[in-house]
Symmetry: C2
Subunit: 110 residues, 2 copies
DNA sequence: AAACTTAATCGTAATATTGCAATATTGAAT
DNA sequence: ATTCAATATTGCAATATTACGATTAAGTTT
């Protein structure tokens, strides 16, 4: 099919997978890293830096924003995108839970 | 196109996005959670628990394995899949780096 | 060996994602 | 008001993903 059966999973599972999916593309990882490295994080900035067109980058930014990984404010006729620390913390916590649960398992078969 | 231009990004960016992508599906999040909750983590187990066929689940397991998020050992004619703590730590570290870098930014525009 | 279990693989249809060019929008500057 | 500058959106085409049924492969049990 191609449609993931999201209705069969919990809200939490759907939410988490959306977050990870948003980071599941090299361009979007690169964008996040670039935002961290510099203060000037407008779209045009990225167009110069990456071999992707303006419209493609704009789309990636839109996806990151939809997943709440970045947030943007309007500055004149350009946009400043920044990371959303809350979302990063959420991801971090989830992974921590995974790691802790793994540690606490009595027996391991692998 | 549909093909991500992975050749235009760094190895690290491609590697990280592969990891996140593997977790970017509710079924695979559910599988990871299930593996954590129980010791018996064979495929058939999951087929009973989730509304997906055996072949679909087997494919999801394959993807998680390809991303090194889980690892499996053969046990008779069934397989025991467990989490790979190393990979979890890698993800955790990446997110931590993001969070730290964000904290250290002098100015924030959002 | 034959029947049974269980997981992996293949073929395929349906849907989603990626990327670009072209166009639209929106604010700034003249 | 017009032009300029910068980002967003739209409309494709190409590729990838998801899911299933059917089949295969490999180990167990009779």
């Amino acid at each position: 099919m191609g449609a993931s059966k999201s209705n069969h999973f919990t809200d939490e599972q759907n939410e988490l997978s959306t977050l990870f999916k948003a980071l599941g593309h090299p361009a979007r990882i690169a964008i996040v890293q670039h935002i961290l490295e510099t203060q000037s994080c407008v779209c045009g900035d990225l167009v110069e830096k990456f071999p992707l067109t303006q419209s493609t980058i704009s789309q990636h930014l839109k996806e990151l924003k939809a997943a709440n990984i970045i947030q943007g404010t309007i500055e004149g006729n350009s946009i400043c995108y920044c990371l959303n620390p809350e979302t990063l913390n959420k991801i971090s916590n989830v992974i921590s839970v995974f790691i802790e649960a793994e540690k606490c398992k009595g027996t391991r078969c692998c």
